[in-house]
């Protein structure tokens, strides 16, 4: 599938911001199943300084600094992407999950690289509740595809999608207590489940193209950024799963960046210097078939 993406983030302040430094993860990764056409990140007012770099996980990031006093900051990422459904070798899914633990099997090819994603991280701490929840699916010797698939089904069934249930900073214990959250929370909880049993798993940030309800027009800008997870299958192979929608990643998923958790790859983050007391945040995402 081909998509034309526009991701617009607008901050409005009630007083001048004299200095604003930011980092944006908005440019999709180039991957075997994902071709990225010309892609731009534009910041308004025009930054005095901007730079592109590739981070520790190979994601493209945009650094910017705006020093002109402003009350509105707009960051727009826009461009074309062509996505296919990632293919995973059937044989890999049939291997027992408990043979794929990087810490227990540092000798496995690629285990040293996957180790980083098997360890707890700031938003994905090891949590006894998650360990216990996952144990039901991660039975000894079970094929990894089957075990992880069942875990995904259960999370989808047991947790409610609720945009009002959490903020960006929900913790795993909070998610578990409420049994509800947004896509980010579903992803963090899934990661906590997998990592607490020793599997390596990464947080994936991106977009999911939505289909308009039958008979309705597609509403421009009504999409949102999305998040899901991927589990390590050995070497450089990963299996991406979306617990929010109970499905494996397909050609409707645009992968932007991945890391240990949301904190590694937020679409936009930054620091401002201002006397302003309030701000307003507006995010609009449009993923249009092209």
């Amino acid at each position: 599938m081909r998509y034309r993406i526009e991701h617009r983030t607008t901050y409005t302040y009630d007083d001048d911001v004299t200095d604003s430094l930011g980092i944006a993860y908005l440019v999709p990764r180039r991957l075997p199943w994902q071709q990225v056409g010309h892609y731009r990140v534009e910041v308004t007012p025009a930054p005095a300084d901007t730079a592109r770099d590739e981070d520790y996980y190979g994601n493209e990031l945009t650094y910017f600094q705006v020093v002109e006093p402003h009350r509105e900051l707009v960051v727009v990422g826009t461009g074309d992407v062509e996505v296919a459904t990632p293919t995973v070798d059937r044989g890999l899914l049939d291997r027992p999950w408990d043979g794929l633990l990087p810490l227990a099997r540092p000798d496995l090819p690629g285990a040293w690289r996957a180790t980083d994603l098997a360890l707890p991280s700031a938003s994905v701490p090891s949590h006894p509740g998650a360990t216990e929840y996952a144990a039901e699916s991660l039975l000894p010797g079970r094929p990894v595809g089957e075990a992880v698939g069942e875990l995904m089904h259960r999370i989808h069934a047991d947790f409610e999608y609720d945009g009002t249930a959490t903020t960006v900073t929900s913790t795993v214990p909070e998610i578990l207590a409420k049994r509800a959250g947004v896509c980010q929370d579903f992803a963090h909880f899934t990661l906590s489940c997998l990592r607490s049993h020793g599997l390596a798993a990464r947080y994936v940030s991106g977009y999911l193209a939505t289909e308009p309800a039958p008979g309705k027009e597609r509403v421009v800008g009504a999409d949102a950024s999305h998040a899901w997870a991927a589990v390590w299958l050995g070497d450089d192979d990963w299996l991406a799963l979306d617990p929010t929608n109970d499905q494996w990643q397909n050609d409707r998923y645009v992968t932007v960046a991945w890391g240990r958790d949301y904190g590694d790859v937020p679409p936009v983050k930054g620091v401002i210097f201002t006397e302003a007391r309030h701000s307003r945040l507006e995010v609009s995402v449009d993923v249009a078939p092209a």
């Binding site: 302040y13 004299t18 590739e54 190979g58 600094q65 590694d264 620091v271 401002i272």
Partner: protein, 832 residues
């Protein structure tokens, strides 16, 4: 008997319980002095217990005069302790350390290059990836593929100890912001003063040439070819544990001490904010832990860092020493793999052995650790610095098994012992105490060079590795001709540029130095005046005297609040004086003002000559004497001595360069003097009869240091009008309001941002005019029992002085708002 001889004798006695497992630094197994001490035997033989105690007392005084402190996290700073007996190491024995540490620094540099580059150590399984990645010292924003820095390590420190055989072993490495060099320099300065003969006789390596090497290492570490790179020392502030060490190092190196808020990033360059202009910074010697260095990419809640610093570093536009990723080297798990790492990266075998260490993530190591738990120290990897866990073995076993990769176990070495006076002085004995040494290494040209000396630590006997005192480390020369630090060419360390006194934070600190010094001084004078009234009343109790006493004590309460324990009835005046002088937690007390003064001075420590710390030496000793002696006369005696101490600040400022900071001290001082005068004069607003009023006026004059002038001018006619004229309007009386305002205006005008029409200047000018137009006859006019015009005047004066101080702060100290994260402001609405 000489102390050392007694020490030898005690050691060679048959040991009770056969505990002689430690290597002794002074006495060999044959009971004879080791070679370095043999050389010194003649001098040392003359030092008896009394003499050593005198030396120890001198050390305490010197350290206090220099304001040397250390604070444990969350506690008030305490005095730094230096043991009078140095740790002496001969050239031969130190040689192995020197060579070993030069190799170690190269190794640590290579580890940084590898872990932030290709990561072959992890890829090839030399070090398990989990052992490195579980440690917070690995900073991922410094590990981008675009990074290229072949020489990331500039300075390092290594803790060393000798095992039972006398072999030096590495206990741990400090690389992200090694502390201790400042303390080591101070230790040397003090010890060479109190042990001049021994110091001369020992023929040891002086430390100062090393400073020159350290300084040039920092200058040379700048990226690109810069003729005159600007180097700053980044400190987390005066509340840091090792604030003294940071300031001492900065001062000795001649580089300014800055805080994160003094710096800003523009176009990827780091700039120093100075009024009206921004100056580029090329090298930052950081004493802030990496996590706190950049709120944009590291901890977002940090106010200690500089937003954009990580990006500036990645672009090689500023050199941070050591780099933001250097904390990875402090990971104790690396010690377990040190020999293999050395083979892998340098192709050499490791010279300095490390303390035996096991990383529990390895199944074999885990089994060993669990079997030997009672003999090992266990440390958790996921906090920095990794603390030794002091938990019951069952609990520890459970914790380790839950996440083995997060734990490291180390053998508890029986570290070598040395005679220590600080612990045994009450018995008049030098007692054997375990010691360790922090050694310092710096890049020098194309290689690394270790300080011939170091910071010795005396550890407590319980084996918890708690440091109880420090020792100076003396490395002896191998021959008479050997140059100090092995550096043939020695250039003096130039004094360099200190932080320009136009940095807003510096001006603010200076302003408060002036205010607190004046506040402490004025309150001390009032305490002394009140004490006279108290003593007088005690010897001649009269009704009138009781009332004057109440009024004067009321003045103290007005300034410093009521004594927390004061009852309504029989006042315990001595307790009140003690509280005013000693109670640090009492708002407005002398003790609190002195502490606040110390804080303000510490914030700009590099601006001061070392003499300034004598203030606190004097005050602290007066305080200690008073704490010991509850007698009434002691209050006046101690207050008098404290006053002497506080007044000595004037002697220091008299010799300061006349820069904006100097002027700002005076602005603070005179604004505060006006405020204090205002409080003092409230005593005149009520009338209590001639005798009482006369006594009160006399106390007010004494507290305002104007008794003599008054007597000269008015003989013994003490009248309110005369007192007010002298204290408010007399332009020649340095304690008067008119004089204070005139001086404040002069000094304010000399600060760069002043134009003659700024708000503070306007407020001050209006105040001067109002004072000129005020008629003293009107102020003393009576309405009922009190003087309503004086009340109004003083109230208005107080409010106007407050407004003036605020205006000064707004104009001269504003550095702009603190950094905040996107989204940290309350979000009114989130759309959609």
């Amino acid at each position: 008997m000489p102390v050392l001889q007694e020490y030898v004798a005690a050691l060679t006695q048959p040991m009770l319980g056969g505990g002689a497992t430690r290597y002794d630094e002074v006495v060999g197994p044959d009971g004879l002095l080791r070679p370095p001490w043999k050389r010194l035997a003649a001098v040392v033989a003359g030092i008896g217990a009394e003499e050593l105690q005198r030396i120890d007392d001198q050390i305490v005084r010197f350290l206090s005069d220099d304001g040397v402190t250390y604070s444990r996290p969350g506690e008030r700073p305490t005095a730094w302790r230096l043991d009078p007996v140095p740790l002496v190491v001969d050239a031969v024995s130190w040689r192995e350390v020197e060579v070993g540490l030069a190799q170690r620094a190269e190794l640590l540099n290579a580890v940084l290059v590898d872990l932030y580059g290709e990561r072959t150590l992890l890829r090839d399984g030399v070090v398990p990836a989990a052992a490195v990645l579980s440690h917070p010292g690995f900073v991922r924003v410094m590990a981008y593929g675009s990074r290229d820095d072949p020489r990331p390590l500039v300075v390092s420190a290594t803790d060393l100890g000798r095992d039972a055989e006398g072999t030096w072993r590495v206990l741990g490495d400090r690389a992200q912001a090694p502390s201790g060099l400042g303390y080591a320099l101070e230790n040397r300065k003090v010890l060479s003063r109190v042990l001049p003969e021994l110091y001369r006789e020992a023929d040891l390596h002086r430390v100062s040439p090393y400073l020159w090497a350290f300084r040039s290492a920092l200058l040379q570490s700048a990226h690109g070819e810069l003729p005159d790179p600007r180097v700053v020392v980044l400190t987390p502030g005066t509340h840091s544990e090792t604030a003294y060490d940071q300031a001492a190092l900065a001062t000795n190196l001649g580089f300014p001490l800055v805080q994160g808020s003094d710096l800003t990033v523009r176009d990827g360059w780091v700039l120093l904010k100075s009024l009206g202009r921004l100056e580029r910074v090329d090298v930052i010697l950081r004493r802030v832990d990496a996590a706190w260095c950049d709120p944009l990419e590291l901890r977002g809640d940090s106010q200690l860092g500089v937003a954009g610093l990580a990006e500036a570093v990645r672009r090689n536009r500023v050199r941070v020493v050591n780099g933001l990723g250097a904390g990875v080297l402090e990971n104790p798990a690396l010690l377990a793999y040190a020999p293999a790492i050395c083979e892998h990266l340098l192709g050499e075998s490791l010279r300095l052995p490390t303390v035996p260490t096991w990383w529990c993530g390895d199944p074999d190591a885990l089994a060993h650790v669990l079997d030997h738990l009672d003999e090992l120290s266990v440390r958790a990897l996921d906090s920095v610095p990794s603390p030794v866990l002091d938990t019951r073995p069952e609990v520890l076993t459970r914790r380790i098994l839950a996440a083995p990769h997060l734990y490291v176990a180390q053998e508890r070495l029986p570290l070598s012992q040395a005679p220590t006076w600080s612990d045994g002085r009450t018995a008049g004995l030098a007692t054997p105490r375990p010691v360790s040494v922090r050694a310092f290494t710096v890049r020098y040209g194309s290689s690394y060079r270790t300080l011939l000396g170091g910071l010795g630590n005396v550890l407590d006997v319980a084996g918890s590795n708690r440091v109880v005192a420090s020792k100076d480390v003396w490395v002896l020369k191998s021959g008479a001709g050997e140059p100090d630090q092995g550096l043939a060419e020695v250039l003096p360390v130039s004094s360099g540029r200190s932080l320009p006194a136009t940095v807003p934070r510096v001006l603010e600190d200076m302003f408060w130095v002036g205010r607190y010094a004046e506040r402490a001084e004025d309150l001390l004078r009032l305490v002394l005046a009140a004490h006279v009234v108290v003593e007088d009343y005690r010897s001649r109790p009269r009704t009138g005297g009781g009332l004057s006493l109440q009024i004067v004590m009321g003045l103290l309460a007005r300034i410093a609040g009521r004594h927390p324990q004061a009852g309504d009835g029989d006042h315990d005046y001595d307790a009140e004086f003690r509280s005013l002088l000693l109670d640090v937690d009492r708002t407005g007390s002398v003790a609190q003002s002195v502490e606040a003064l110390r804080d303000a001075l510490s914030g700009v420590r590099d601006q001061w000559s070392a003499d300034v710390w004598r203030i606190f030496g004097v005050v602290d000793r007066a305080r200690a004497t008073m704490a010991e002696d509850p007698g009434s006369h002691q209050a006046a005696e101690s207050a008098g001595r404290m006053l002497t101490g506080v007044l000595s600040l004037a002697g220091v400022t008299a010799n300061m360069i006349r820069d904006p900071g100097w002027h700002m001290i005076s602005v603070g001082r005179y604004v505060e003097r006006g405020q204090q005068l205002r409080h003092l004069l409230t005593a005149l607003t009520e009338r209590h009869g001639l005798d009482v009023d006369r006594e009160v006026l006399a106390a007010v004059l004494a507290a305002a240091e104007s008794s003599v002038t008054h007597r000269r001018r008015y003989r013994d006619h003490v009248r309110p009008a005369g007192v007010l004229d002298l204290l408010l309007k007399d332009p020649d009386n340095p304690r008067s309001l008119a004089f204070s305002l005139a001086r404040a205006a002069e000094h304010l005008a000399a600060v760069p941002a002043s134009t003659g029409s700024t708000r503070p200047e306007r407020l001050l000018a209006a105040l001067v005019t109002e004072l000129e137009e005020t008629d003293v006859a009107r102020l003393v006019a009576i309405g009922g029992v009190d003087r309503p015009h004086l009340v109004t005047f003083l109230d208005s004066l107080g409010a106007r002085l407050d407004r003036l101080a605020e205006a000064v702060a707004d104009l001269h100290f504003a550095t702009g708002p603190a950094p905040r994260r996107f989204g940290s402001l309350p979000i009114l609405e989130e759309v959609p």
